[in-house]
């Protein structure tokens, strides 16, 4: 039971009409890890989250959450999963106190202290109605409600939406501390990729058609490299292939090359393609740079 994956996606396929979202998508999320689900718009991140939350039945394959099919979760298993919906969805007709009272009734291990510890930072009276809050304030209430459930698994769908840098940091710091100290499993998507660098242990890169790369963040950042070729008058640029994962022309005429290989292998490949490797330089990169390099700008 302890070794059972928190999330198992096995040969998952999904379609919208004739449009293929995934075919044969597989990955697992082991317990106690913080997982970032990364991908450009339209690759099916939200669809995957919906599948995991049980709000879509898989067209094919299996999708299991805490050992149960995601589309047929029992109430006991739902109790172990905390969901943060895109846009920090909440019962906005409730006050802070009413939201706490309502949600607490469903969870036997409810941690009132966790909820009010987070909410007290807002400095709002408990009689404050959620609909009258800013997006940032609402995000704190929603996070407090989910954390106080004391779930084993947290799924957060684009928690950054609508948050300024301050609230994003507050949300993130609290989430990291909570997840690490409680050995929680977290699956998170975000459009602000650099935030995830501070949060996640592992990443799943989703690309169009369901191409997926699952790796630990340090392993990925250690293996994936960014090189730059100086601008050339002939305008010849290399093509991506087995060695060169991605190639991007920069506005200043230089060419960014992304690869899972060292400089020697990249130089050799450039030479094979008839591109002079002179001036090839390794460039340090953030997770956001790596994300763009791996998935492409467009």
């Amino acid at each position: 039971m302890a070794d059972q994956p928190a999330i198992e996606v096995d040969h998952l396929s999904h379609y919208y009409g004739r449009r293929v979202i995934y075919q044969d998508l597989s990955f697992t999320v082991p317990p106690g890890r913080i997982f970032g689900l990364l991908g450009k718009n339209g690759v099916g991140k939200t669809t995957l989250i919906k599948l995991l939350m049980g709000f879509l039945p898989p067209a094919g394959g299996r999708c299991r959450v805490l050992g149960e099919p995601s589309h047929a979760l029992t109430p006991a298993t739902k109790r172990r999963i905390g969901l943060v919906f895109e846009g920090h969805l909440a019962y906005d007709f409730m006050t802070i106190a009413q939201a706490e009272r309502f949600t607490a009734a469903w969870y036997p291990t409810w941690r009132r202290d966790v909820f009010y510890d987070l909410v007290d930072r807002l400095g709002l009276p408990y009689s404050h109605r959620i609909r009258n809050m800013s997006e940032g304030q609402r995000s704190q209430v929603v996070l407090g409600l989910v954390m106080a459930q004391d779930p084993d698994l947290l799924i957060l769908d684009d928690y950054t939406m609508g948050l300024d840098a301050g609230y994003r940091r507050l949300f993130l710091d609290y989430l990291v501390h909570y997840a690490r100290t409680g050995a929680k499993t977290v699956l998170v998507t975000s459009h602000v990729v650099q935030d995830l660098e501070r949060l996640v242990d592992d990443v799943v890169f989703l690309r169009r058609g369901g191409d997926v790369l699952q790796t630990s963040l340090p392993a990925f950042m250690g293996a994936f490299r960014h090189y730059r070729l100086p601008a050339r008058s002939d305008g010849v640029a290399p093509s991506p292939g087995s060695v060169l994962h991605g190639v991007e022309r920069e506005p200043d005429g230089t060419v960014s090359v992304f690869a899972f290989h060292d400089a020697d292998a990249v130089s050799a490949e450039l030479g094979r393609q008839g591109v002079d490797p002179a001036g090839l330089t390794a460039i340090p990169m953030t997770l956001e740079d790596a994300f763009i390099g791996y998935t492409g700008k467009y």
Binding site: K50, M53, G54, F55, L56, P57, P75, A76, K78, R79, I81, L83, F85, G87, L89, A90, Y91, F93, M94, Q98, R101, F102, A105, W106, Y107
Partner: protein, 221 residues
Amino acid sequence: MTALFFKEWIKLRLIWGLILAGNAAFCLYLFLDMRQQFRIEHAEMLYYQASRIGRLFYADLQYVPALTGAALAVAQFAPEMAKGRLRLSMHLPISLDGLILIHLTIGLIGLGVILAFDLAALAATVGTFFPGAFVHSALATAAPWMLAGVAAYLGGVLVLLEPCRPLQVVNLAVAGGLVTLCHLSTRFNGADHALPGLALMVGLLLPAVLLPARRFRDGGR
């Protein structure tokens, strides 16, 4: 279950109170209107109109329950459907069918209290001005209108929960048809024999509501 009552009470108490107040105001109007007629006409003449000609002195009431039911459905489920907020409830540790049926039970209790108030006010008004036999007749005559209120409520929920637009139109037609059926007769005791059949058809809307809820959960499929 208690928690869902708590949530629905917070959501609905203001609008439910307003709807009840609106019904009370209408019942007061009905009473004052009838009293006025008894002031300007001889009682015998009005008894004659009611018993021989079949004039319904409270016909204005007939669409009030349907409007009440539809308004309550909107008040209860429109906030749940806005931004897909129903998904929050769907993730609660309770089965989907149980969740929807509890919501419907709460809505029907709220509606039932208002319709019972309408019937009590109708009985009191008719009993104030007419002999006792008219009271029983008035309640039987108004019974299908009350059923229309339930049909409008359940039909409204059916339409609001439905994520598929063409099916939403079909549901609207079914709900509208049932409400119309409940209003076909404006005669005294006109629907007495049809009442069990009407009640059965309206009752079928209750399990029917579970289908669009499942389609909503499944992303509109």
